[in-house]
Each structure stands twice: as structure tokens, then as C-alpha cells.
Subunit: 197 residues, 2 copies
């Protein structure tokens, strides 16, 4: 059996370590690099190194930023006493696109997952507890998964001890969806959380 040249195989293997990238896609991506102009490949490699060189984690909220603290934590127009807790930095950018949240964020860096060996000490929880004080509001915005819900429950207990108002994102029908194709769990939550008109 013939193999790809070694340097190509190494690049394929690197691509295959990415989330959601299988062997076939990794091959396609590696061959795309191979067929690209040299300067494009150089710029791609440079972009990778630049990201690692320039990006740090915000010492306040744990998000990714080029300047510490990040511009959201430094923004005086942001409401000080509302903190939205998310799993990953990417979630912040999703929230920001709604243009509807004027508080600040806190990045956990994951969720509690005993099966994967992730416990409370692996998450960015200590800093969160130092940030909150009596009278603040914390919005729990972990993913609506078993791990996300478990993590939110764990945090809500810790936060309530500090007399913080704790809320979490509403569960219900996604906008534009079709009732007929909605799963039972979502519909149950939508019924439980029905709002008066």
C-alpha cells in the first residue's frame, strides 16, 4: 500500500485532531494547504502562531482577549451587578450578537462532568465567587444539557449562600420551530414555563 508523503501525513494527522474533523475531511484540508499558494500557507501558519502569541485569558472574566482585562470588563457602560455565566468564550460572542445583554460575563471553561474527570476545582469558580456580592444578579447560561444543568444547579447553591439573585435562561420553543416536530422534553418545559398574556 502506498502512503501519502510523510509531511502530508503529519499534516493530515494534525487536522484530524480537530473537533468534528474526520480522516477524510482532514485529507481534504491538508491537500488544500498543499495546493494553496506558498504565501497563503505562510499566512495561515502565521495566523496560528499570532493567535497563540497575542491572545490571553481575561483575568477578571476568563474570556479570550488581546488586552487584559478584556474590553467588556473594562467598559464603564456595562452594568456592574449582573453577571452572565457561560461555559466557553465563544458563548460570549454569541450573546453579544443579540445586542440585548448589557451586563458582564464569567467564563467557566467547561462544565462539571465526573465521567470526564472534570470537577469543581477544574472550573473557573473561585474567581466567580470573589466577583459576586450581595444584591447582584447572576444569569446561568450553561448549555441545556445534563452536564450544563448539573453545573448550574451546583453553582446556584453556592451563589445563593452569598445572597445573590440567581436566574437561568428560559427553556421553551425555539423561535421559528414547528410544534409538531418539537421533542417532548422541550414541550414539557415550554408548558411548565408558560407566560401569561
Amino acid at each position: 500500500m502506498s502512503h501519502y508523503p510523510e509531511s502530508v501525513q503529519i499534516l493530515i494527522d494534525r487536522f484530524a485532531t480537530f473537533p468534528g474533523i474526520g480522516k477524510k475531511t482532514a485529507q481534504r484540508l491538508a491537500l488544500h494547504v498543499l495546493m494553496a499558494k506558498s504565501e497563503e500557507a505562510t499566512q495561515f501558519a502565521k495566523a496560528i502562531m499570532d493567535v497563540k502569541a497575542h491572545i490571553v485569558f481575561c483575568s477578571v472574566c476568563g474570556s479570550i482577549t488581546e488586552e487584559d482585562p478584556c474590553h467588556i470588563c473594562m467598559d464603564p457602560k456595562r452594568i456592574q451587578d449582573v453577571i452572565c455565566i457561560v461555559e466557553n468564550p465563544a458563548d460570549i460572542f454569541t450573546f453579544e450578537r443579540t445586542n440585548n445583554f448589557r451586563g458582564r460575563y464569567h467564563v467557566l471553561g467547561g462544565v462539571l462532568s465526573p465521567l470526564d474527570g472534570v470537577g469543581p476545582e477544574d472550573l473557573n469558580i473561585d474567581k466567580l465567587l470573589n466577583r459576586v456580592s450581595e444584591g447582584m444578579e447572576v444569569v446561568l447560561a450553561t448549555n441545556p444539557s445534563v452536564e450544563g444543568d448539573t453545573t448550574s444547579l451546583y453553582l446556584s447553591r453556592l451563589l445563593k449562600e452569598k445572597n445573590v439573585k440567581v436566574s437561568r435562561l428560559a427553556r421553551g420553543l425555539p423561535v421559528g420551530s414547528d410544534l409538531e416536530y418539537t421533542d417532548i422534553a422541550t414541550l414539557t418545559r415550554a408548558l411548565e414555563g408558560r407566560t401569561e398574556l
Copy 2:
């Protein structure tokens, strides 16, 4: 609206230029690089540069290789007078996995596609015509698409002028498929090309 830090956005944009990678996947890949260990990112960037530095195109067949000519063209055990014509280097590695073809290859580097401005002069055809001589066999293994078929037809005319035996890959039912779900075009070809038992 808040944006990703500039260096992250640049990397996202780079990933988004890859075939089959949309905006969301590009974000996911870029954030994976960001979260990876520094040494992993360095090795990834190095793998990209290595590929561009070490890989050349075989001067005989046009495949990708670290040594020119490539090891298939240099292999004395390979049948000299059978050449399989493929669109891209990746197709060679797919053929080699069958362990069933003992001839050599020739890479076109694409297919004729007037709409995309790709004409015969853009393909690796001159070298092919120099390689073939009377009595040889050429297997046309372009993709079973409109462009692939057009390219094969074009080549077969040129090659027949050189008294070369020209064949192309069989069209028919893929192994393991289900007749009920086979498209009409494939079934028509399978019927036309039926073989006696």
C-alpha cells in the same frame, strides 16, 4: 456588537477559506487552536510550513511527492505501459488502497470546465501525450461527473490518434448499495454495461 479579538478573527477567516468549512466550523476550529497547548499550535504551524517546503510535484506524473520523480514512477515493478489518468493526487492514494492497479498514474490537476475558465491548456495534458506511445493502455479515471466525462471524451480523442488503447472505469451499482434507492442514471449505466455470467 462585540467582535472576536483581531488575531482570532484573522484565523477564523483563514479557516473559512478551506473547502467545505463554513463560518461556524471555522470559529470552532480557530477556538480549538486557541485552547490547544502552545506546543501543539506550534507543531501545527510547522506541519503546514513543512508540507509547503518538502512537497513537490512529480515531473513525470504530476503527483505530490517528497522526491522527484515520485516512488511510483521510479518503481521498476510497476507496469510501464498502463497509465491511469486521475484528476487529483488524492485519487492516486485512493487507487493505491485497492492494491489492484500495478500500472502508473498521470495527474491532470483538474477537469475541463469552460464555466470556470479551465481549458485544455490549464491541465497537465502535454506531458501525458509525451508519455504515451503506440500499444500502451490508458485508463481514464476522472470522476463520473459532467466535467469528468467531458474531459475523458476530449482525452480519448487525442489518445486514439496516438494508437493508444483507451478505457474508462465501469459505471454501475456501487458494491453494498440497494437497487431500490439507486438513481436512474446509474441504473441505466448498469443495465447498458451488464456483464455475462
